[in-house]
Structure formats: structure tokens, C-alpha cells
Amino acid sequence: MIIAIAIILFGIGVYGVLARRDILRIIMSVAIMLGSITVLAVALGSQLISQSFVLFVWSVEVLEIILGLAIFLYLARHDTKDINKLQELKW
């Protein structure tokens, strides 16, 4: 049951990333996806390795939130939260 719930949560996160344009909602959707992945890893893997893997996933999640919030504040400075308005971060 936990594995099924984790897969459903991952699907909800994917929908949030694809359907929303608000940068904060995209950050939250990615957090949902990573949270479901951690649950899936702990449910499927051996204890020590999977729990250590979760700690690494947490570090990546914190990294994503640091950069996401920086982009959010950058967008807020330009009075928008829509990531489609981002032009200056393109290569």
C-alpha cells in the first residue's frame, strides 16, 4: 500500500510541475516528488543503504529549494511569479 501511495504522490507531483506556472508551486511539486521517492526508497531498499540514500536526496531537495527561492525572489522583484516571464536565465 505504501508503494502505491508513493507512486500516486509522484504522479501528483509530476502533474503539479507540468500544469503550474507559479514558481512556488513548482518548488512544492518537486518537493512532493522527492518526498514520494524517499518513501519508495525506504519501503523497497535495505535499511542502512536506503536511509542513507534518503539523506542524500534531502541534500538535493534543500539545494533545489535554495535556488528555487532565489529565483522566486528574483521574479518577485519584477512583480511576477510566472516562470514563463523568465528571459534572463536563458543561455
Binding site: M1, I2, I5, I8, L9, I12, G13, Y15, G16, A19, R20, D22, L24, R25, I27, M28, S29, A31, I32, G35, T38, V39, V42, A43, Q47, L48, I49, Q51, S52, V54, L55, F56, W58, S59, V60, E61, V62, L63, I65, I66, L67, L69, A70, I71, F72, L73, Y74, A76, R77
Partner: protein, 151 residues
Amino acid sequence: MTDVLTVISSLLCIVGALTSISAKEIMRGMLGLTVFFIGIAGFFGKLGAWYLAAGQLFLFVGGVVTLLVLAFSFTKTPASIIERFGSFAIAGIVTVALLFVLPLASVVYQPLELTDFAPFFFAQYGWVVNMALFLLLSAVIGAQYLLEDYT
């Protein structure tokens, strides 16, 4: 008891995730994300990963959500947010969710000790820890670069 914990955690996770991506107001979405993180901590408790459950609550409910609310409050007046959603209601929902999940999670036996992680992190996969720290430092420097003229 653990089945009850699974059902409660599943409900918290799904309701929280759906709320966080579908709520019209972003503060309600953040409240949903808080509930989602509490549900994930309940799953960790059910699976016997007590340290992960505690870390999930400390790091994400206590840190990340607070950081998100703080960043959002830079763009909105905090007083208007509190008036609109009610600080008492938000704090009450989070507290009740914590009160339900934490005692249930504490009855699960945890066979791993904290010292079991030390050789894993500092001997076997020490280079991965270094890489993660380097990535975190890069993210902080990148955020600083993005916001260097933010006033």
C-alpha cells in the same frame, strides 16, 4: 496500530499534496505541503526509520516550510496573510496533525542506531558527502549571485 498509522499518513500525504498544487491561495498550498511532510514522517515511522521521521519534521516542517513562508512574506504583507487565513487555524491544524502522527510513530521499533551511519558516510561514501556539500555551497553562491542587487 501500524495500519492506522499507514492510513492516517496516506490521507495526510494525498490531501496535503492535492491541496499544495490545487489551492488558489499560495499560503493554503504551503499549509498543504506542511501536512504532506507530516504524512511522509508518518510513513518513515511506519517503516522503522525513526531518525528519518524526526529529520523530516525538523528539516522540512520546521525549516523548509518556514523558509517558504518567510520568502513569500517578502512579497506580501504578513499581517494581511494572517488576517486572511487565521494564524490560529493554521497553527492548530499543524499541531493536531503532529499530535496524531508522532505518538503512533514512536511505537515502531527502530533497529538502526545513529552510530551505524557514521562508517557509511565518512568511510564508504565520504566522496558523495563531499560532493553534496560542494553542490550545496554552489547553490548558495548561485542564489547569492541571483539576488546580489536585491533590495
